[in-house]
């Protein structure tokens, strides 16, 4: 049995690692989305975590775990600095600012050659990341998401997402909540970046561009943003699909684009909304409400 498992890992280990990493990212993005923040900063935060952790492990000999933590903290800190002014503005400005941030990081990575290796990137990064570490982080992410959702903080966050004006009048500090969520989101993405850097032997500026941010956004949205396991399902599905269907890169892009459009159009609750048993109940309830209001109208 164990032998079989090892055999599985040796042949599909890369895919498993990738899935776990993307699950981590998916929950990182989910944190921001849950506070109504459409973030395109994921790529930038990953890059911060990746480059800084590689710098610390290879240049200063810092232990891997510390380097990863620092990578996460740096990303989180950057998020607080961007978030504080921008979160006061409308949502579109937030999106644009995070987009600009990812590009700034990419430009810096391209030009700060002494640390980032410029366009060539950094080659020969020691492979410290182990599958069990990624699994642990992914499990922790799901658990924390669960804990958050089932608490008064989860309720407040849901309220902020739906009606931030009303939330304020309930005594909820909307800005502080959103800033915390954004910082936490960046922290998780930074850690994912650091883990990714020590998994792949190589990092370069193109690894963490806009496309990375878009990919990461598509995980929770494809899987179902409102379900606890939605981001997980989305991440696994998105990672595995191209592995099973051995398309060319171009066809992968075309199909992924098409898939996301179709899901957004026809299944806005994501894949998880298919599984939820109360979907039917909700439709039924809506019928009841309709009938109820018709009766009311008839009465009046």
């Amino acid at each position: 049995m164990i032998g079989l498992f090892e055999e599985f890992l040796s042949s599909y280990g890369n895919v498993v690692d990738l899935c776990l990493l993307n699950i981590l990212l998916a929950y990182g993005v989910w944190l921001a989305l849950s506070g109504n923040m459409f973030t395109l900063g994921t790529g930038g935060f990953m890059a911060l975590g990746a480059y800084s952790s590689v710098f610390f492990t290879t240049q200063t000999g810092m232990p891997f775990s510390f380097a990863v933590l620092i990578g996460g903290l740096l990303a989180g800190g950057a998020a607080l600095i961007i978030g504080l002014p921008v979160l006061r503005l409308r949502g579109d400005y937030f999106m644009l600012a995070t987009f600009a941030f990812t590009e700034v990081v990419r430009v810096i990575a391209l030009n700060w050659e002494s640390v980032t290796g410029g366009a060539i990137g950094i080659v020969g990064i020691p492979r410290y990341t182990e599958t069990w570490q990624l699994a642990l982080l992914a499990i922790a992410a799901v658990y924390f998401a669960y804990a958050l959702r089932h608490s008064h903080f989860g309720r407040s966050i849901a309220a902020i997402r739906q009606d931030d004006v009303m939330s304020q009048t309930m005594g909820i500090n909307v800005l502080a909540h959103r800033l915390t969520l954004f910082g936490a989101s960046a922290f998780v993405c930074g850690i994912a970046g650091a883990m990714a850097a020590h998994l792949n032997f190589f990092i370069g500026p193109t690894d963490f561009g806009l496309l990375r941010s878009v990919d990461a956004l598509s995980y929770p949205i494809l899987g179902g943003f409102n379900a606890l396991l939605g981001p997980l399902v989305g991440a696994i599905f998105t990672t595995l699909l191209p592995e099973f269907l051995r398309f060319s890169n171009q066809w992968r892009e075309i199909l992924m684009g098409l898939l996301v459009i179709l899901v957004v159009l026809y299944l806005p609750g994501g894949a998880m909304s298919l599984l939820q048993s109360d979907r039917l109940a909700r439709i039924f309830r809506r019928r009841l409400i309709e009938r109820h209001s018709i009766e009311q109208r008839a009465e009046s």
Partner: protein, 294 residues
């Protein structure tokens, strides 16, 4: 002084392209209050289609029309089959952003499949060979063509928006969709035209960009989108005169930063500006021109 004048010419030619592109981005925002992140891909497709037309032997002004039409067609299709159903479904604001990003991704894939993944060059145009020396300043006929084409496009756009019934319809929808319906504007066709114009401007900008740098690639849309969004923020979201001014400003700033600071800073300048403006004056540098939509 000569370097300075030279940079002005270079900056105006690139800035005019940014302005044309950004007008389209900001128009969609102004009318429908959404940001179309696929505009960069429309630009790229415009450049690719224009390149094919040029290889076919069509003269430059005609390829410009072909590119504009290609971009416009994409705009119409995206509105008809994606943005409008999304608005009807009344989903979350994100969904439009996600869908437009996915559309961009799809189009990049399609472009790679059809036009190949390599960077391609335009067939040598007679215009790039004509160079005037005025004082110490080198002016390519091509640069003049680009600036002239951009200005004509902008004037045409201004004419349509300000002087035609179509433009009035679009402006009414921008003011309020409900009001537009009440006064009998056909909102559906007005939004389709809006998307056509925005797409056409993107497609035309793509061709001009490809001709100016003599480079066309399926990946040119991303960096163009960044420029477009930067200009949008510079001018204020939905502010059309602001987009024009912002486009020229960004073009000049970039060119000057390359000439006097370092080429590495060219891209950083734009993003630095975004942050600065978001901090200091989020309604844009030129928000005096036009009341922004609430």
């Amino acid at each position: 002084m000569e370097v300075f004048a030279q940079q002005i010419v270079n900056g105006l030619s690139i800035g005019s392209i940014y302005a044309v592109f950004a007008i389209g981005c900001t128009l969609i925002f102004g009318v429908l209050n959404i940001i179309n992140l696929a505009q960069g891909a429309f630009l790229m497709i415009g450049a690719c289609v224009g390149l094919e037309a040029a290889r076919f032997g069509l003269p430059l002004p005609v390829t410009l029309l072909v590119a504009a039409f290609g971009g416009g067609l994409l705009g119409v299709l995206s509105e008809q089959f994606m943005f409008r159903p999304l608005r009807k479904a009344g989903g979350h604001r994100w969904m439009g952003l996600v869908a437009s990003l996915a559309l961009a991704r799809l189009l990049v894939g399609v472009a790679q499949e059809i036009f190949g993944t390599e960077v391609q060059a335009y067939p040598r145009s007679s215009m790039s060979a004509i160079i005037w020396q005025i004082g110490g300043v080198r002016i390519q006929a091509l640069q003049l063509f680009i600036i002239a084409a951009a200005v004509v496009l902008m004037l045409l756009f201004a004419f349509i928006l300000q002087r035609t019934s179509l433009g009035r319809a679009i402006r009414t929808v921008a003011f309020s969709e409900d009001v537009a319906r009440i006064v009998g504007v056909r909102v559906e066709s007005a939004t389709l035209v809006t998307f056509f114009i925005a797409g056409a401007l993107a497609g035309a900008a793509g061709l001009l960009l490809g001709v100016l740098f003599n480079v066309v690639s399926p990946f040119m849309g991303d960096s163009a989108l960044v420029k477009g969004l930067t200009v949008m923020i510079l001018g204020g979201l939905g502010n059309i005169p602001g987009a024009v001014a912002g486009g020229f400003l960004l073009g000049l700033l970039e060119v000057f930063s390359v000439a006097y600071v370092s080429s590495a800073f060219r891209d950083a300048i734009g993003f630095g500006l975004i942050f600065l403006i978001l901090l200091v004056k989020p309604t844009g540098l030129f928000s005096g021109f036009e009341e922004r939509r609430a």
